[in-house]
Symmetry: C2
Subunit: 360 residues, 2 copies
């Protein structure tokens, strides 16, 4: 490996910088490749009047999940669902996945069965076929790599770079819950490690945190929102799923679409349990909603004219609007003050979770 003064740490670029760097100046693609790197999924055209979507995720033990509190069946379910979410985020339907798994000797066959059972349940739930994969040993820990293939109407595929400058900004569901679930589970795990007292997961404390735990361990992809958009016959002008945090995703859309945005703190959708947990850990709940990752909700923009529809659509919240790019990306606080939005989502390379910076 490269050593000494010529060595550049990967973390200096961050995940998105690294991908941009590695894939810059790729040669002219095959005719069937419509869009490669840079969105939730790649877009292929197989001349069948449809678009084929491809997305992939690699989850590593100790980086993306902690088996001390993440049951293998839930993990399998989540690993599949996060890929489905990327396909829905393009306004498509997931159809097939390949599943590659590598496990170290600590895993028994029964453990692998549990993990795979979770993947199978997710696939049955969402109507997706397992079409192949690979299994291997690993020197340490578990690696899960899933690639998902989906389908979309060519006139309805939605990218990140097509928001207009006077669009409404909408999010589905509520934000920050998965992150609060993570902090809760981490806290219980620390207590367990220090005291040896196993958390009473059937008890009252867990019951009161049931929603945020569920959001962390067993998220769902918003198939229902894609279906609702289809029913009301609206194609968003841009869309992505919220995996790294609202702030990070919003900046992706604004940068790639060359627009600015104004979102309103008092319009951020937050569940009661998220608010309670934020208070317990002494965090600003808006910060949690803005930067907490892994919600797998949909963030999308729609034309201003659809305002009446979206203000009243169940499960959707209009949180702001896009602007000309020179206006920048701002959060309007409860006090009316403007704050620049800065991405503070998950960074798989820094090893630090900047979300706890609470400096919004």
């Amino acid at each position: 490996m490269k050593e000494g003064k010529d060595r550049t740490e990967i973390s200096t670029l961050g995940e998105f910088g690294l991908i941009d760097h590695l894939t810059e100046n790729l040669p002219e693609p095959n005719a069937s490749t419509i869009k490669g790197v840079g969105d939730d999924a790649a877009i292929l055209d197989f001349n069948n009047g449809k678009r084929t979507l491809v997305t992939t995720d690699l989850l590593m033990e100790g980086v993306h999940f902690n088996l001390a509190y993440c049951p293998l069946k839930h993990l399998g379910y989540k690993a599949a669902v996060v890929n489905f979410s990327d396909i829905y985020a393009m306004n498509g339907t997931p159809k097939q996945i390949t599943v590659s798994l590598a496990f170290s000797k600590k895993f028994a066959l029964e453990d692998v069965e549990e993990l795979y059972a979770g993947i199978r349940i997710a696939c049955e739930q969402y109507g997706v076929d397992i079409i192949g994969g690979d299994t291997s040993a690993s020197l340490t820990g578990l690696a899960i790599s899933i690639t998902c293939i989906g389908e979309a109407d060519p006139n309805k595929v939605v990218c990140r770079n097509t928001a207009g400058s006077t669009d409404l900004i909408c999010v589905s569901g509520d934000l920050g819950a998965a992150y609060m679930g993570l902090l809760f589970l981490e806290r219980e795990n620390q207590v367990y490690k220090k005291t040896g007292l196993a958390p009473d997961s059937d008890g009252e404390v867990f019951a009161s945190k049931n929603y945020i735990i569920q959001r962390q361990l067993k998220p769902e992809a918003r198939k229902d929102i894609i279906e609702a958009l289809e029913r009301i016959n609206v194609v968003p002008t841009s869309m992505m799923d919220i995996s790294d945090g609202l702030s990070s995703e919003l900046l992706h859309i604004c940068k790639q679409s060359n627009v600015g945005c104004r979102i309103y703190e008092d319009r951020l959708p937050i569940d009661y349990q998220t608010a309670v947990m934020a208070e317990e850990v002494n965090m600003n709940v808006s910060t949690v909603a803005l930067h907490g990752g892994e919600d797998y909700e949909l963030l999308f923009t729609v034309p201003l004219e659809t305002n009446d529809v979206f203000q009243n659509l169940k499960g959707i919240k209009v949180i702001g609007h896009t602007t000309k790019p020179e206006m920048g990306c701002c959060l309007i606080g409860r006090d009316g003050q403007e704050h620049n939005i800065v991405a503070q989502g998950w960074n798989a390379f820094s090893g630090e979770d900047k979300k706890t910076d609470n400096n919004e």
Copy 2:
């Protein structure tokens, strides 16, 4: 993780047993899924008069490669090419790949660039687009997961389970070289570790092993053979690529096609350097050709009537023929004796390399 007497070790099933076990009784697939698990690639039908092929591979440091003697650029090249090989093995053409990488802190940006450069060179060489992927940290080592999408004519896709019982059995190129290259590199690495003397990789010893080293570190996929088959207008009755060893692959074809086979020891194609290295390490060279993995040559069956064509086709060797299943799977030795063929290829779970058993 599962502990105690209820725990079943994964190695009891082996890789293929594990995949069969995990994917048994999958529900009825989507209409677009023609063939899922069980061949070199899955087959999808997107109603475009073509078949879409999907294959995936997960490579883990310390299990599939050793960075002590495997340069990162070569590794990237190989990681891509082994996926292309799976698509060619279906008589298709690779078109797109996704690339997911996880690296621990020992890797610098320059290392990742090297690895990715190798992947890009392979893609340019074979006309394949990089359309997406994922990058992540890893607690230990490097993980590479590549998924490849290819295309084939629906009338020309070739599976493993369609060999007839009176077909010729052919292989491309020569066998056992990649395995001998591995043993050579392992030996030099051991010497280096014990003596601290770096191998003189520009010197005479390496020059005399040049071919087998190349076969191990930078294999090619047999695009040329697929093109040759197209030119002579022959569609094999069955085909797969030789990644785990001829014996293992031949048994796959025979089992899935419900046929037997007779192959002839004196017809196994073996390079001179392979034979020399086998002698140096005191192994039977036929055993090496039969069980050595990672050659990425094509193994295929063709109708008996094409005998004249294939006996004279450059780069192809007819090594035997299929039989009725009750005849079993046999190697006819140089002395005319029959030996049952037993798979002794690479097993990613046992941690043992049975190929050195030399008991054929």
